[in-house]
């Protein structure tokens, strides 16, 4: 069509872009003064917490702002063509062929009632007018490129029939079908497991290298940005506050906000006692409540009256760096971040007491019924999902034990059995002296329930929207029999609000008036209402933004420290787990693969699965080196797990048929470190560490200053 591209112009050039949404409350300036240039083959990272305007930028590039969004001013040029003035039909030829997009939730992005083949084929059929059979071949080819096994089967399938990782590969294939010059990726791996994320990240990097595709990669995960991007833009409350090359920005962050972000993420150098996380105080301002002058002002500890709040702060180039490093802070020249430690005050390690929980041979099978005629004839209508198989471990007073593994490995089932929401099929769980694994929650005494509480991933689901916070916590206190007197209950609720550091007037608020982090604090207050001896936290911070997550994590540990509570921390995020747990249990397909102290888990000998998990963790430190191990394939169905070692279908170190046929023996590397694998310990011990952290002296920025 009439699109005249200038192949010498940058792939994308955004200048002084201002984007607004219009709501009943008035105009919401979502993005302010945004400028960005993407050269051919370049990968640009866009980081920031949710609501800072990342997706809005992507949608503006696509010229798809929804019913209430609009581009107020500024220009977006794609290879010299001004997109903001493009007529609809030319826009259509551009979308999906020159610029394509990959989304955060692959399942929602795919049409549930069309086969994947149909959805793939229509891209080249629309843009290039090729025939159905040609399109079919092309689609199959690209599916093979994104390393999906059996493209023919995938093409005939509907979205719900394949796994989340496979869905994302299909979405990527769809974006690549017409060989675009620019890929927009909006949190493409946020909804996926770490090992799947690692595979997809590598795939995207390989592809853009191969085809010279430029990328804008949106994420809130600094570690991921470090792995995939050349340059990074840090956004805060609608503005870019700092930009630069990965090396320059990650090694010498200049803006107090960027610096604060690094203090919030559990880097391998963080330690819950010696170098705890340092959350950023305060909250992101709402777009219409932004302060005068610097948006970060109210949360910045370098804030200076009269300077920071005088007028809008411009972006300034950072002199003395070869890279194009720019920052939006009036005081960047004066602030010496090297004098400012990136972590909080050191604390004494906790005393570990007697065993509070002892799990022995715990087993949980779910019965499922297959009513198809075939299964009935074969006499296989009842099958078992082995959600937990032979779990053995214990937890002591004041200790934090983490259970890690990918989704579907049985972590949550175990939590449910502990809470009495399910009963175990076999084995025993002793808590405070009683075997609780077969006592459903109905049959437990209020004290028993109160002494074993849980903090959930989605606090919203567990709060009743129509009651005030005060009555909800109060009811729990009464239920556990902690207090019965009305005034005492009220006093206790106030005390709990103090403990979780929320203002006392939250007593009369309702859940919908709370932010995600505040809701999670209420979740914690409720869990601690009955003075529990043990708290199970199921992914308590994985739905929260980095700075909020850091604050909630620190809070949880502070309360734990004070009350000497045992914490069972369930997570798939090894960085957080490494940071806060004393001991780790690694699970795969319902079985324990490895367990031991945190140091033992993070150093050889490794179980091959642990090794892969460690390699998959993105680390936001350019000086940390990692060994790359990418797992292929999917988690097998729990209905039909491998005969021998559960990991045998994906294990990169598989020794042979013995892994397929025989259960691996549990080998003790020390009295507390157990590994279930056929490979002898000596051989497992011979590998290099997966993550290598340089010592302080080796670090470049120390040498520089």
């Amino acid at each position: 069509m009439a699109l005249n591209f200038d192949e010498n112009a940058p792939v994308l050039e955004i200048k002084d872009l201002n984007l607004s949404y219009w709501t009943r409350a008035g105009e919401i300036p979502a993005v302010i003064d945004f400028s960005l240039t993407v050269q051919k083959g370049e990968s640009i990272g866009l980081v920031g917490e949710s609501g800072c305007g990342k997706s809005t930028v992507a949608m503006a590039i696509m010229q798809y702002m929804g019913g209430n969004g609009s581009i107020k001013s500024g220009s977006i040029r794609f290879k010299g063509v001004e997109l903001t003035e493009l007529p609809p039909d030319e826009l259509r030829t551009l979308r999906g062929s020159h610029i394509s997009m990959i989304y955060q939730e692959p399942f929602a992005a795919l049409n549930p009632s069309l086969t994947l083949g149909t959805q793939l084929k229509e891209v080249p059929m629309t843009h290039e007018g090729i025939s159905d059979t040609e399109a079919h071949d092309r689609a199959a080819q690209v599916l093979a490129d994104v390393r999906l096994p059996d493209p023919a089967r995938v093409m005939a399938a509907y979205p719900h029939q394949i796994s989340g990782g496979q869905q994302q590969r299909v979405v990527i294939a769809m974006a690549l079908l017409s060989n675009p010059s620019l890929l927009l990726l909006d949190e493409p791996t946020t909804a996926l497991d770490v090992t799947v994320e690692a595979g997809i990240t590598k795939l995207i990097a390989d592809i853009s290298r191969k085809y010279g595709t430029s990328q804008i990669y949106i994420s809130h995960n600094l570690g991921l940005i470090l792995e995939v991007c050349d340059r990074v833009f840090v956004m805060y409350s609608g503005e870019v506050v700092e930009e630069g090359t990965i090396n320059s920005l990650f090694t010498w962050p200049r803006h107090p906000y960027t610096h604060g972000l690094f203090g919030c993420i559990p880097l391998p150098t963080a330690d819950k006692n010696a170098a705890p996380l340092r959350p950023i105080v305060g909250q992101l301002p709402l777009p219409h409540e932004r302060p005068h002058g610097c948006n970060f002002g109210p949360r910045c500890k370098f804030f200076e009256d009269g300077r920071c709040d005088a007028k809008d702060v411009p972006m300034e180039p950072v002199a003395g760096t070869t890279s194009d490093h720019r920052v939006r802070c009036v005081r960047w020249r004066e602030i010496d971040h090297s004098q400012d430690v990136a972590h909080g005050d050191a604390k004494d390690p906790m005393e570990i007491g007697d065993a509070v929980l002892a799990v022995e041979g715990m087993q949980k099978y779910y019965e499922v019924h297959d009513r198809s005629i075939k299964a009935l004839l074969a006499g296989k209508s009842v099958m078992y999902v082995k959600a937990n198989e032979q779990l053995n471990f214990d937890a002591r007073r004041g200790e934090t034990v983490a259970i890690v593994g990918e989704s579907g490995c049985g972590k949550s089932t175990f939590a449910k059995v502990l809470m009495g929401l399910e009963t175990a099929t076999d084995g025993s769980i002793r808590h405070d002296g009683n075997d609780i694994c077969k006592i459903p929650v109905r049959a437990r005494s209020p004290q028993q329930i109160g002494s074993l509480q849980m903090v959930f991933q989605n606090p919203f689901d567990t709060l009743n929207p129509s009651h005030t916070i005060g009555t909800q916590i109060g009811r729990v206190i009464k239920k556990f029999g902690v207090e019965t007197d009305k005034t005492k209950i009220r006093a206790r609720v106030m005390e709990l609000l103090d403990i979780v550091k929320l203002p006392r007037d939250f007593y009369i608020r309702r859940p919908r008036q709370l932010s995600g982090g505040q809701k999670q604090r209420i979740g914690i207050a409720r869990a601690f209402a009955g003075n529990p001896s043990m708290v199970i936290a199921d992914e308590p911070v994985s739905a929260l933004d980095v700075s909020v997550a850091a604050a909630v994590t620190e809070l949880l540990m502070e309360i734990q420290r004070e009350h000497k509570t045992t914490l069972l921390f369930i997570s798939h995020d090894l960085s957080v787990v490494r940071y806060l747990s004393d001991r780790i249990v690694v699970m795969y397909l319902g079985q324990i693969m490895e367990r031991g102290t945190t140091e033992a888990i993070f150093a050889p000998p490794y179980h091959p699965y642990t090794e892969a998990l460690l390699s998959a963790v993105p680390i936001a430190d350019p000086e940390v080196t990692k060994r790359e191990i990418v797992l292929e394939g999917n988690l097998p169905s729990a209905l039909n797990p491998p005969q021998g070692c559960p990991f045998s279908t994906r294990c990169p170190r598989k020794v042979g048929t013995v892994c397929d046929d025989e259960r691996p023996p549990v080998q003790m590397a020390s009295d507390t470190h157990a590994i279930a694998c056929h490979i002898p310990l000596e051989e497992l011990a011979r590998v290099e560490p997966v993550i290598v952290v340089p010592s302080e002296e080796e670090r470049a920025h120390v040498a520089h200053q």
Binding site: M62, Y64, G67, R92, T93, L94, R95, G96, S97, S100, M101, Y103, E105, A108, A109, L110, N111, P112, S113, L114, E122, V123, T126, H127, Y158, H160, V171, M174, R371, S372, I373, L376
Partner: protein, 310 residues
């Protein structure tokens, strides 16, 4: 799939059995009143007892129920007191007449409602959407007993184009069908259209529609290929629910236009306390309800691949 269907049929039979028990108990537990209803207010006590004796009403209730049920299963529905004829002789004709009326009503309601619903849900908030929404709210809120006389006044008495009654004494006449069908269509299409609109509007905000647009597909194919099928899942169930509704919803129309249909029969039976006829007609109605429900569930699994059986 086969097992699913068999299961649903089993469920259907069970529901009908339960309803039949309830119906039977409700209408026939009080033997005395049965006799009154059959023999009339002015019969003597002896006459009633004699009648009850002769018709086996003093047998235990389960025996009577068994006999009635067996009669029902073998197709012997008994005799109507009101019409003095075996029920089989006229009920099915009545049902057929209503089916004809219902068919034509649906033949207009479905396409009209779907097209308007889709058009209005496609661009939520546009003037077209507002016009359609307001129209359908107004038409749905006019009751049949108001629109029927109104239409009759215009087309029968005013313009003289159409006949005012639809008893079809001289055989089938499509002209007599026009007004009853029109009343039903006016009353019902707005409801289905609004359901369709809601469903379409929801689909238009989903991420997969955004994907389709950002793939650069023409608007036509975004709507026809990506939106339509998903948007039709919800209205499909609503439409299937309109079929049993028609069975009783036609009462006013049939009565007003003297159309010899099932609804009018039901009305007559209950006004005259014609017990056996009420029982038979109710069982037919229940059958229609459960049968359409089953069909609707099966159709749903076909429209929605997520719950399709393997």
């Amino acid at each position: 799939m086969l097992i699913f269907i068999l299961k649903r049929i089993g469920q259907m039979l069970l529901i009908m059995l339960i309803v039949s028990v309830m119906l039977f108990l409700l209408l026939e537990i009080n033997v005395e009143s049965v006799a009154v209803k059959v023999l009339g207010q002015y019969s003597t006590q002896e006459q009633r007892e004699l009648w009850l004796q002769r018709n086996g009403y003093y047998d235990p209730i389960y025996e009577r129920y068994g006999r009635w049920l067996w009669g029902f299963v073998t197709g012997d529905l008994g005799e109507s007191v009101r019409f003095k004829k075996p029920i089989n002789d006229f009920m099915w004709d009545r049902l057929w007449n209503t089916a004809v009326l219902g068919f034509w009503a649906m033949a207009f309601i479905i396409p009209l409602a779907l097209v308007l619903g889709i058009l209005s849900g496609m661009r939520e908030g546009s003037w077209l959407d507002r016009t359609i929404s307001v129209t359908s709210i107004i038409t749905t809120s006019i009751p049949e007993f108001a629109s029927a006389p109104l239409l009759a006044a215009i087309f029968v008495f005013g313009l003289g184009w159409l006949p005012g009654t639809s008893s079809m004494i001289g055989g089938f006449d499509w002209k007599q069908l026009v007004l009853p069908v029109a009343v039903l269509v006016i009353y019902d299409f707005g409801y289905v259209a609004r359901m369709t609109r809601a469903s379409m509007a929801e689909v238009m905000t989903t991420h997969y529609i955004r994907t389709a647009v950002l793939k650069g597909l023409p608007y036509r194919s975004v709507i026809l290929k990506h939106a339509l099928r998903n948007a039709l899942i919800a209205p499909f169930t609503v439409i299937m629910l309109q079929i049993p509704w028609l069975l009783s919803g036609v009462i006013v129309v049939e009565f007003f236009f003297a159309y010899k249909g099932f609804g009018a029969l039901l009305l007559e039976a209950s006004l005259n306390q014609d017990i056996l006829l009420i029982e038979a007609a109710s069982m037919v109605a229940v059958f229609v309800v459960v049968a359409t429900q089953t069909l609707s569930d099966i159709g749903y699994t076909y429209l929605n691949p997520r719950i399709r059986f393997t």
